[in-house]
Point group: C2
Chain length 413, copies 2
Amino acid sequence: MDVSLANATAVARMIASRPVLTGVARAGESIPGMHDRLLLHAGPPIEWDRMSGPLRGAVIGALLYEEIASDEEEAAGIAASGAIEFAPCHDHSAVGPMAGVISSSMAVYVIEDLKHGHRTYSNLNEGYGKVLRYGAYGPEVLDRLRWMNEAMAPALAEGLAGSGGIDIRALLSEALHMGDEGHNRNKAGSLLFLKLLAPMVASLELVPAEATKILAFIGDNALSVLNPVMAACKAMGDAAHGVDGSTVVTAMARNGTDFGIRVSGLADRWFTAPAGTPDGLYFAGFSSADANPDIGDSTITETAGIGAFAMAAAPAIVSFVSGTPRDAINATLEMYEITVAEHEHFTIPTLDFRGTPTGIDVRSVVELGVTPRVNTGIAHREAGVGQVGAGLVRPPLEIFEQALLAFAERYGI
Amino acid sequence: MDVSLANATAVARMIASRPVLTGVARAGESIPGMHDRLLLHAGPPIEWDRMSGPLRGAVIGALLYEEIASDEEEAAGIAASGAIEFAPCHDHSAVGPMAGVISSSMAVYVIEDLKHGHRTYSNLNEGYGKVLRYGAYGPEVLDRLRWMNEAMAPALAEGLAGSGGIDIRALLSEALHMGDEGHNRNKAGSLLFLKLLAPMVASLELVPAEATKILAFIGDNALSVLNPVMAACKAMGDAAHGVDGSTVVTAMARNGTDFGIRVSGLADRWFTAPAGTPDGLYFAGFSSADANPDIGDSTITETAGIGAFAMAAAPAIVSFVSGTPRDAINATLEMYEITVAEHEHFTIPTLDFRGTPTGIDVRSVVELGVTPRVNTGIAHREAGVGQVGAGLVRPPLEIFEQALLAFAERYGI
């Protein structure tokens, strides 16, 4: 069996993926298998009793939002009772940042891979401060979600319906030339997103105050595009998944307790181990003692060759995640050692327009002992406090060792 | 006399300048000394008979636009007759890219320097293709100008009037961390500009089609913010001007025939010599044989420490102006040799956040024989063909030698 050939096939499919944002719809009406008593969450599978603070908070928030529970205590009881089904976003073609909780009445971005034909999904970004994805569930969180889902999402849906969609791969190509790395820094990408959405929103028959609110909400949030970018990277990962004999990683995700990966040639099995805690810079008043273990599906960006893998493109990010611009370059250079290709569409000007390191090979990770770098936000370990910093983290080496062992067993090597 | 102390004062004033875009108004009602029979133009003073093709074309276009002439021939006759007064934008606190022609009924951005109290102005950017600033004056050019001045400008004026203005220095600080250098690459800055303008425009009682057109016009033009940036840099240059005993350059400008500079301690005298032709990359179908000599007031950006001086911040620009990312870094590094300060607000991530080289010292230019680098668009030498490329150019050394001689005479050194 030629693993290298299988990996070349997998990564070629990943790079050829052409994810386009074509719509916004309700999760319950678009995500396959979604139903009223199902909550999707970030990372590999987990049950209530092992969930960390921020994920529990987001679950409580979603149950309140859906009016399945009327207060926190009732929500926690229901969540623990087994009356609610939990499943990874990834098992339903979806991704969500941080807690990544998606319930059926929430709006989601719909991405279509024009090359391979599949669809992927992600929720809408809430902005900063007290937000569901960090486990907050107070009235202002639920009110904002209601406005996003009932007012903004239909407007975006109507605007997008009259357009040819938004080519997220092209947007990312441009953003990487504008100092973004696509995971923790999406300033330029979010503005490019606004540029495309603004005329669409302005063309609708909205009252001026509502159009203003939508454009300010999207424009003032430098993470606006993170969610469709994640769904686009999910489309790329899915494109590379299921290639017989391939050791390319097609998903990396954390639920706040465990870090999990999936591998192209190993079907839908998760390989998991306890998630680490990021090293980074903390906002005033917080320290590493406040940090939750690594959480969120946003590592799908590194899986697809951006995020920390493209950090050389984003030297300004070091003021946010720590380190120097030289460290940012070194982060990217190191990732070439564990990847099988250089991206055709994602290039880094300062590296003479070299393509980003793309397609993590489980074999190289284990052989070299070099785990993928991840660039991430840091959540407070208690529900609802919010983001307390940003930094760098790596998945545990053992999940790659598990995967390689499983690969050897599966293929009889 | 302590020239270094005078230069430190001048550059400190330049760096402390805080230009804020506070309004949009008609040139005739805002620019000091503007009147119906006056046309402002880029660069140092020049009369009709010495004007190059693109500047002549823009003059003809302005006379048609103002209905002073009814056709090209009549316009050229009037321009040559002495019935129209010509003056540099710079003599009226204004700047304009390329031909830089401003007539009294055109709309201009109004910049207020909140630190020093003075105002500066620039016209609105027309976008790409056949445009007045490259000397085109066909019906589509005049129609676009009419829409900009009669529809877009009043909307921007109304939106800005209800805001606290747009801090252009802060916008530039951010854009330099997003791969812009502020002269030839203003992609990020133009999107930051859109981000601030979009909610303002959406809040007005415009018909949706008009709001859509305005937001698409601004968003689709990666040079939208160039003009207010130039006016902001003009405010910085003006802040540094008039410091007794200072050899700091406070304006660099080209009219398509001559390159001129002004120096802080030498009042409003221009030192001029024939403008060179940029070296660069040409659009398909054009070559250096088509190029007009260097033209435009946009060198006010380099004067204020951005543009080519900040090229290390914009590695992706080399695909547009030629060279490698290493050349871009070297361009910035070289400029430290001829400048007196590092900018406090404009920093370059890849140079470990070092401030941009700011405040060109005529003495250093002459002593080292190193002229300022300029990053520029290239105009076709015939009126109205438009932009044919982009590249790099330097002013003639002799204008710095003239200035140094005049300085020695003026101060009896």
